[in-house]
Symmetry: D2
Subunit: 506 residues, 4 copies
């Protein structure tokens, strides 16, 4: 896999898997990304080797951490797979019980604590879970072979310990029109040709988290589909280096700090997130890797199950919230303000909000129910509640962290000025806070809070918390659907003594 290969477009499933060898740890993961020959644009340039690009590397490091954690803490970050009868990375594990979902949430929080950013692997994990039950259900109705294909794919995936990214969000164009009604048919990814070997797809997937860092991309419908949208009702597995793929890198607040000399001003020098637009131009998918092809009536259910899993995955933000609480406490201490009652009170509030999010996520997992395929799905209402709180509380936690940080967070001169022979000593003299605390520690902590509330990782902690897995209104619609208002009206009528002549409530 280490020599750049331009793969033929119409490549067999077998040949595609043949490029992989089992990844053992984080370093192996990073190596696995080298020399893939992917086409990536960033700042108007085609990038030679994304792995070495200073803006891209932190996002790779975050995923690397998921491999290293599996080594360090296998109880938390691996699980036994019946499929290959071996322990596998939990991000490749098919959730077989409520406890599996709970462990998933704990791992997500832990990785949030360790990286302070989006580690980009949850959408893929939740896709794995969805596909188990959806392929099973489609087969049950249509006699299709999707579920076995899925299991076979997963065996390869687990053995090779690879990353699957979720390619879900189509650009959508004119929102008032269905996929098949768009002026430009490519605004939803669709089949352009079918051959004996497989299908060809064209379109794009936007906001693809960690797209470039995944070994395989699962393309799937982004919303419900009608009978005319059959060519859009497609699920398929595509290797990240397939012919016909182009990645265009999304920029983030303060992204170019990663290219500056020095480390301090980066805030979190090691870890970052990644969002890409992935363009598909007649990309081939062999039949073995096609898991839905035209069964449009399952698209809605697929999306609903995916969001149920994925909205609880936003529990990861409680890991980032832990970092925020810690950073706020640390800077307050460095400022000499940690004993003030209002400071403690704000830390308590941050913790309270953070744990409120946590409780909705794990409650949702604990309350999981089995699906026909035998695996479990977490509680949809509580998952929506979790995500909806995620669209609110990180913003308030961030506001409180800025309160505790003090104004210096946004007036602090650059690291280069601190290193300058004239300016540096002035800065160190005047920005000395509590004795015994090096000024550099203060700089670093302020830059971390800046990073998470305004900078690069604010994208993951705030804006992604708002829009990932669906914007707030999407959760409200689900809550509206699930809130069983008729049942609740009956409670109220019963207590109020209202008796309907034709429908007496006991």
């Amino acid at each position: 896999m280490n020599a750049i290969a331009h793969h033929p477009r119409e490549e067999s499933a077998e040949r595609r898997w043949s490029r992989f060898k089992p990844i053992v740890d984080g370093d192996g993961y990073v190596e696995s990304l080298r020399n893939r020959g992917v086409k990536v644009y960033l700042f108007g340039e085609l990038i030679d080797e994304p792995v070495d690009h200073p803006i891209i590397r932190p996002s790779i490091n975050a995923l690397k951490r998921t491999y290293d954690l599996a080594v360090e803490d296998p109880e938390l970050a691996t699980a036994h797979s019946d499929l290959i009868d071996a322990r596998v990375n939990r991000f490749l594990h098919i959730v077989g019980s409520p406890q599996d979902l709970v462990m998933k949430n704990r791992m997500q929080r832990r990785l949030g604590q360790l990286t302070g950013t989006c580690f980009q692997r949850c959408a893929g994990l939740d896709t794995i879970s969805v596909l188990h039950s959806i392929t099973y259900d489609i087969d049950a109705k249509h006699g299709t072979p999707y579920h076995q294909r899925y299991l076979e794919f997963m065996r390869h995936a687990q053995r090779n310990n690879i990353i699957i990214g979720a390619g879900m969000t189509d650009p959508k164009g004119d929102r008032s029109k269905r996929p098949s009604e768009q002026v430009d048919p490519d605004l939803f990814l669709h089949v352009t040709k079918r051959t004996e070997q497989g299908i060809y797809v064209t379109g794009a997937k936007a906001h693809m988290t960690g797209g470039l860092n995944s070994h395989w991309i699962c393309v799937m419908p982004t919303m419900n589909m009608g009978p005319n949208d059959r060519d859009y009702a497609i699920v398929g597995m595509v290797p990240g280096d397939a012919e016909g793929l182009t990645y265009i890198y999304g920029r983030q607040s303060c992204d170019t700090r990663a290219m500056e000399t020095g480390e301090i001003d980066k805030g979190n020098a090691k870890f970052g997130g990644q969002e890409t637009l992935v363009v598909f131009e007649d990309v081939f998918i062999p039949h073995e890797h096609v898991l839905m092809d035209g069964e449009h009536e399952f698209a809605q259910d697929m999306v609903a199950r995916f969001t149920s899993y994925h909205r609880a995955s936003y529990v990861c933000k409680t890991g980032l919230g832990d970092v925020m609480v810690g950073a706020a406490a640390a800077i307050a201490e460095m400022n000499g303000a940690d004993h003030a009652g209002h400071i403690k009170d704000k830390l308590v509030e941050m913790t309270h909000l953070n744990e409120t999010i946590y409780s909705s996520a794990i409650a949702s997992s604990h309350e999981a129910k089995p699906l026909p395929s035998g695996i479990f799905m977490n509680d949809s209402m509580l998952a929506n509640v979790c995500k909806h709180n995620v669209t609110r509380f990180p913003y308030e936690i961030s506001r409180l962290a800025q309160d505790l940080a003090g104004g210096l967070m946004v007036t602090l001169p650059s690291e280069q000025d601190f290193d300058h022979e004239v300016a540096g000593p002035m800065l160190k003299k005047y920005f000395q806070g509590r004795a015994n605390v090096p000024v550099e520690h203060r700089q670093r902590m302020l830059r971390l809070i800046e990073n998470m509330t305004l900078g690069r990782n604010a994208v993951g902690y705030l804006t992604e918390s708002m829009h990932g897995a669906g914007s707030p209104q999407a959760q409200r619609i689900q809550i509206l659907r699930g809130m069983e208002v008729e049942r609740k009206k009956a409670y109220a009528e019963d207590l109020a003594g209202i008796v309907h002549e034709d429908n007496v409530t006991a």
Copy 2:
């Protein structure tokens, strides 16, 4: 038990139990409360038979519902007790697993839906749980026989299917002083005499929920105790009709509507809560019913465990929240406003807040851990988070319900006016809302919302949500204690690249 007996003060444990016979259902429970000869004051009068008092009866009905639910839905409201090898009411069940705690929460929500008020039995249930582990721990340290006494008491309790009330909150007097330092020693309940047969206690327990409706009262410390407070570090079981007890009934908003003719203006004619002051004057407790006597160092832990259990029990308010959602939806429909977008949005918000509370409670239960005595205690941080949200969200849900109700909720004339031959037809003519909806239905629904947001059951839905199981600041103190700020600071320092010379974080 049906002839009023004035029991001798120094009564044996055996004789005390001899008065009971197993209660089978709600009616049996109501009968069990008759003719007990308890001394109860209400509106300056000694009440003859509390069971028949129109203000008291709704509070008895709420407890009655806990018996009837056990008959109707045994899966939910009963559990198998190893202690007597039989199914028992879940309110008497010793929680043996996380699932037991989850089932407890579900039953609590259900009873909230069924009664729309405080059904007064949770503090007693949580006391049962605490005593299992605390008596075990005391015995382990001191070689005392409390745990066996406890188990023996519980066998009687389960066989007779009785209600245990929690007598916890002492009046406290001057808050800056410890129990033994108060000018008036009675401001904390304490031992006044010890004999071979037992102990005598004097003092009072305030805010005793359902005090008068319980068969037994468990007195226990309200806070941590020091070496000088040994006489105050007492846990004991007292029958509700023991000699020396006086109950003084707490009044509630709109309580006297229960004494009006008609049913509509009561809002919730059947169910209500109850708070009493219980005064103890040299009340005897035989040794068999003493479960702590001077082991002051366990008082703090006892309170901490109790609040951990009990703060999650406030999940009951989500049952009341369900009623609020239902009532708000119903009145919006009756007003003809149910299709407005902002109305739906408010129902969604109410539901979101309500389910947020629910998730913290059951998450806390699912995440329970075993104690040395073998039973489980729910997660303390999440229980505190649950209760803390309960001090906020019901107020907002209530505000939104008032929004949807419309101003008529507080300008509606009395039921008697609706029945008047002149005024009645005017009212029915002018308060007709949507066609086909009887004006009386509208009246009833408005009165229910009034009942829960301003009236009698607002006490349970709002103010008790604020102060029960500890006021908001009590939860904040627990969150502060449990928030592990050093661990979180380490995460932040690690990401910020801060290296302590003497303490390198990996």
Copy 3:
């Protein structure tokens, strides 16, 4: 005026005024209400003399306070009227300048502080303001004589120092239909007959604040009217004791406490609000007192101006908020908790919210602009903002007050129990808080907070804050209308560098 007169239905304007004599002070006001022979129903009974009814009297006392304040503090509560060249009660003053509106707000806050309830006179005052400009505008278009009639009416009103109540809210029936389309034409008040002397109206006005306590009722449209609704587009002045009027008294939370012996449990024994349904059956209005008759196109503007004035009048709630802050501070002190940081912090939050409301109200008044008739109207956007905050902040202030009050607020036994020879000493022993503070003071303060957050005056402080002068959504609609989004989009486009080809923003 002191002998009960049954006035002939078709009574002249002159004769109607002849019944009045100038009211000098509060006592005179109370006397003026006696023997009017009004038909009032309360609890299914026709009330003999409302003035002496214990439930009604507190609402009269609140209005009485507006007279006494004029005597005590003429600078605040009176103003010079050019109309009669004499100082008049500010509630009868036609606002001639922004400063008049500011003084109105200050007086309203002051009366909130003095009464702790709704003093029922603001809607009438704001009606006076609206009619000045609307009658002027109608006359300008139609050559009608309304403005002179209005001025003449106001001269009488000012000389006699009477109270005008606003009869605005029609029952509305089926909300999807216009007035003229209702099945029952009476669901909006309308003209049933026109004679040479005047008009006859039938219908009802709901939620009429202080209806029974007003000397005159101004009936006016409740919403915009179309060409078919001419008979509904009516403004007229009706004496409160006119033939054909029936009042049905709205009940309030805890209203019957006013009928109990003792004073403490009432919470605020002296003052209360009042809401009534007023039914009009062929009530006559002489032409001299008709100020709009069919000019339907002015209805919308009339309502818009009224709400602009009236939404800022909700500044009165900051007076009640002051009482809440004071009561919360007082009870915290009695509980011995006033030095805790979190207690102070909550008082600060209550104050902050209260002053935020205040600032929107007086800002709205200071920013008033003149209307064609020469008087001033306050800023509509800020008035809506004020009222919208009033639908939120009093609920939060109330919640915080309940927090500081402690649970005893809802478990405190009745005043009668405190007076009982056995129960009383027990209660005084056990409810003693901080030394030197009489238990009775604590009782009284708790009952006041109960009164304002759950009881009778919670109606005025909370639910009326929600719905009075329009429900929250009504303000949101006005804010939407006034928010000038195109202007703001232009700012954003300008800064973003967006140039429209056809419409270049400078």
Copy 4:
């Protein structure tokens, strides 16, 4: 002034003024900043000519706008000065009436709309106001000549139309120690030498908004001072190019985007804020420019008056809020979502919060009271309320704007990618939203919202809103001081019927 002069350290007042000539408009202002020879460090380099630095220039542009507005809209942005009997820029005008303060607020909002950032001139303006009254008060007590010196300085300032910056915030070092107790005496600016000509000061002023862009810096105490702090109780005027001054530029989120090619990704290419650390090393101030020298007892009052003026100046954020509302409305429209009810509702909420801030500010100004020197000070309570809302609402407005923007805001590729021959057409194809809206417009609007919620101007809109003019706790302390709790307790006691034996409340 256009040849770089290294001015002698001990320069006379006259000579200092001789360098200035009247500035007529924005271009003249920019010219006036050239060739001053100031020492500025940025990114570890001494900057040659700050005016031409791409990171610095936007902050100069923002101030330039204050000059141009004076030309475009003299009614708003200039005022007649009695001091020189001519119209002067309102930022140099001594507020002589409440209306002056109101006009100040309107101008501030307007400039917020025009620049979308902090235009850096308010602290200087509020300093001018404070010094008028404080110098007057010191003279009245001590017979000093400060007020005349102040007036003379202001005559020069107005004639030359210059900018005065406020140098207030000392680094403070160990917060538990007073200025004179610090280990390093320079941690508060202080007098190091006194001569016949003047004084020399050493120290630093942190977070100095627009420091580098001001012609003169007013140094003044940052907090109350004691008798031992006389050398720290200094007010003096220093030209920005005085010998001994060093500026170190504070960096901001996304600051280096200003150095990128292209304009779109900057979000707001024209305008930005500026924060600098200004170091003073034996900087000379001639006596004519010393306005306080040791009168330590006035320091507290000076700070209190400054914060009263300055906290209301945060009304500028409502101008930025207008831009946010406009940007959110515009992007919703471009996304094709502007007709959704929840979108409109969020725009209403943003507006409501924004206008709530506005109302507190102008209410504070309208309610101004005169000081002994004859000028007016705005209401302190309402100014604190204004600023306190500013520490909350812009964060919520920003959150809502991110909601409306959609996730694309943080996944959008760079402008350079849009211009690339391969990537560009892909991006334009797939990011086309509503027909007829150029993709570039969408890019620009998203970048503007990013700029204000995460990027460079988020510093001004969010973090500065939190900490400028004092952090939230500073306002809470002022609200605590001003909330008159005793008066409010008296209201509550009066209504509750509490009579103190020794202190009967009327």
